[in-house]
Amino acid sequence: MTTLAAPSPVNYLNVKTTVASWLLTKDHKRIGLMYMIVVTFAFLFGAVFAALIRLELTTPGGDLVSSDTYNRLFTMHGVAMVFFVLIPAVPAILGNMILPLQLGAKDVAFPKINLLSWYIFVVGFLFTIYALVAGGVDTGWTFYPPYSTQGSPSHVAATGLGVFIAGFSSILTGLNFMVTIHRMRAPGLTWFRLPLFVWALYATSLVQILGTPVVAITVLMLFLERVAGLGIFNPALGGDPVLFQHLFWFYSHPAVYIMILPPMGAISEVIACFSRKQVFGYSFVAFSSLAIAVFGFLVWAHHLFVAGISPYSAMVFSFLTYAVAVPSAVKTFNWTATLYRGAIWWKAPMMWVLGFMGLFLVGGLTGLFTASLGVDVHIHDTYFVVAHFHYIMVGGAIMGYFAGLHYWWPKMTGRMYNDMLASLSALLVFVGFNLTFFPQFILGYLGMPRRYHMYPPEFQVLNVMSSAGAMVLGVGYSLTLIYLTYSFFKGAPAGANPWLATGLEWTTQSPPLPENFRETPVVTEGAYEYSKREIKVA
């Protein structure tokens, strides 16, 4: 690897500082930061709804908000978190920030389209905020008809339009990344020398490009049925409400992989760096990303097992759902094998990774319960399912996002954060998360349905545990926000490669130059040649 010349005083953060220079930037790193600001805002937005939900559920009586308000709370929580946090979090923030750096490129393939996708995302988010200010939406984030088209008095159309618009941002980002990975790799950077984060982003782009148009059209059809009375999902007009569920989940199940694949890529990077080892079975981990993306398209109807679909079809989808567990397990086993006999370095990113491994394991294994036809009848629409997908989406995707964020933060900002506080925060989130969601597995198994604000008194102890856990979780996330904000302005300088990591992003200065590299790097070795590096444990 090359040794750096003295860092230039000019970097992408200070090259121009006017507001216009940010709002009109074509620099992928600035666009990544701009995504981070909007997504963090959406996260706070969704977190407030979550806090209100958990506050309401501390008592069985439903005495804080009305059932109508409660419907709006959990819907807005879901819409904000799924469409405006989880889907863009890793691809649009870390992907934008790091992908061209990892490829040795000056920028993404279409920098102007990249900026456009940020604006589209913001417009979609503004529509959703409008819906909230105007009174919210109460259908659940899945917008199932017939309620969403015929019954709901809330702002389904505005929210649906917001989701529709934001979808195009996702499509454009996916397209941009895919072309960038094909066309912008540095000399010598062959497919099997690519970092696994790039493979994960490639697989994610596939899902974004192929899946998102389907949900966009589906939401548009919902909009037309609601506003113009078209008979697509309404049986009285010759439609079929289950058709909506088929079309919606054709995207929305693979969307789970948009959320989880890029964090998995980040996990591979961090595990290799902080175990000072090659990722075990590199090509298996790379292809498992593609396998997850493709298999992910074949499983959607497991959300419909009790919706009246054909039992024969349900058997097919149940089998395929079990199949998608295989590549996920390949990854988990390979990460574990990477840790084995590694020189493990206990730094904050690694703490977040270990949290991810535990939580994703539980989330993945409980997915097999829900994939099982008989068991699903019992646990469908109960808190078991709520706990399961939070273990995947928060325990997996958000923990993975934070692992990646802590790993690349010194590169993004040029500054270090307080490692002890960051490790403490990872621990608080891990404990708080388990306290919040593990009781929900038990509640669901005992039969507590989701989406009700009242429940029998015998469920109160577990619900209070869950609400207490949410507070711990809130403290953990707030702590992260505080020390990272402090680090951004006052943190100690990080240097080009504080983790002594491999990868092209670490060969340029931190924060990187506006054009990333002084000269195009040439790659001569694989992505994780840690065996050739001196181990320095601080």
Binding site: D68, Q150, P153, S154, H155, A158, F250, F297, L298, A301
Partner: protein
């Protein structure tokens, strides 16, 4: 990027073909072909889509990678349709004791109930369009 430039006459010819096929679509809609109604309509639509993709979108003159990407998009569309049809085509095969429609069962749809009345909840307005 393909540097191919097609003559204008190609575009006019394709445009003409698309217009003719649109007229055929409308004309066929007035003729009852029985079980062929659906295949004929889909066949015409697919022909039009293929013309647009090959000529207006220049895929005919693009690299093999571009062709593969287009083909893959169709492959996923086939997945969407085929796996959805596993549900619709096999629903009638199984007569459940709980009342799933069996083969040949006539399902009648009753008019929608007036308004949802949940216990203690305000009934929402049924008027669409917010």
């Amino acid at each position: 990027m393909s540097g191919h430039v097609s003559p204008k006459s190609t575009y006019y010819a394709i445009f003409g073909a698309l217009m003719v096929l649109t007229l055929v679509t409308v004309a066929v809609a007035f003729i009852n072909l029985g079980s062929l109604n659906f295949p004929v309509a889909i066949g015409i639509a697919l022909t039009k889509a293929t013309l647009v993709i090959l000529f207006f979108m220049h895929v005919k003159y693009s690299s093999r990678l571009t062709k593969m990407v287009v083909g893959m998009a169709f492959f996923f569309l086939v997945i969407l349709l085929a796996l959805t049809m596993t549900d619709y085509l096999s629903r009638g095969w199984f007569a459940s004791p709980r009342g799933t429609a069996g083969a040949g069962t006539q399902v009648t749809i009753s008019p929608p109930a007036p308004a949802r009345q949940g216990a203690g909840e305000t009934a929402p307005s049924t008027s669409p369009g917010h």
